[in-house]
Amino acid sequence: MATFFFLVAAILTVWGLYIGFFVAPTDFQQGESYRIIFIHVPAAWMSMLIYLVMSFWAAIGLIMNTRLSSMMAHALAPTGALMTFVALWTGAFWGRPTWGAWWVWDARLTSELILLFLYIGYMALRASIEDPRRGDRASAILALVGVVNVPIIYFSVQWWNTLHQGASVSLTKSPTMATSMLTGMLVMALAFWMYSIAVSLMRVRRIIRDREGNATWLSESSGVQ
């Protein structure tokens, strides 16, 4: 099943990049540097979406005591962390030409950084607890506490940012999006989404095999292996 999502992701990426580089016009204000938007914004969206989906699975695993959902949360975390890192990296690379600095304490970039810390915290807690049962449930609690705090962090950073610096040119207020720019970005977002699903499915299969080597229900469900 994972390979299906990989294929879709590959096709969408090619299509998205084609639009991004060949169809979308040069931006009158930022020239060509705005083309980074085609991976920066999708990565940022995915980093947030994956955290929410991860917390959803974590909650299900905690409440229903179902091991598979906790494993799904465990499988999503690295991809979410990767997306956050990509969003930060591309944000810095985009900020350099537009704002003249590698790192700007823009509200969104800052909360993206904190989101990366949340992912790192989740994975660090998961890695340091040997017993998988306790690892699942402890990290599930951390993910849920994180989900409650993400809006708080975002708004306090927003308030803090406007207090100190005044509203700097934030990313989405960039020039009105030509339709092709928007479609390019949406296609790339979809591609990133498919990619994340594919990677997480592959990782969850590996986690299942590592952890439940002999469990009977495993052999039926993944007989194809």
Partner: protein
Amino acid sequence: MQWESISDFFAMGGYGLYVWGSYSVTALCVVIELVDLRKNR
């Protein structure tokens, strides 16, 4: 079509470093993740 030539494409209107810098790192992260997954299938 935007670009007259391949070199123009890579120059990316003077922002080549930034645009290709971010795209290459993204591609690198994806490759690392896939290799890691493929390694211990």
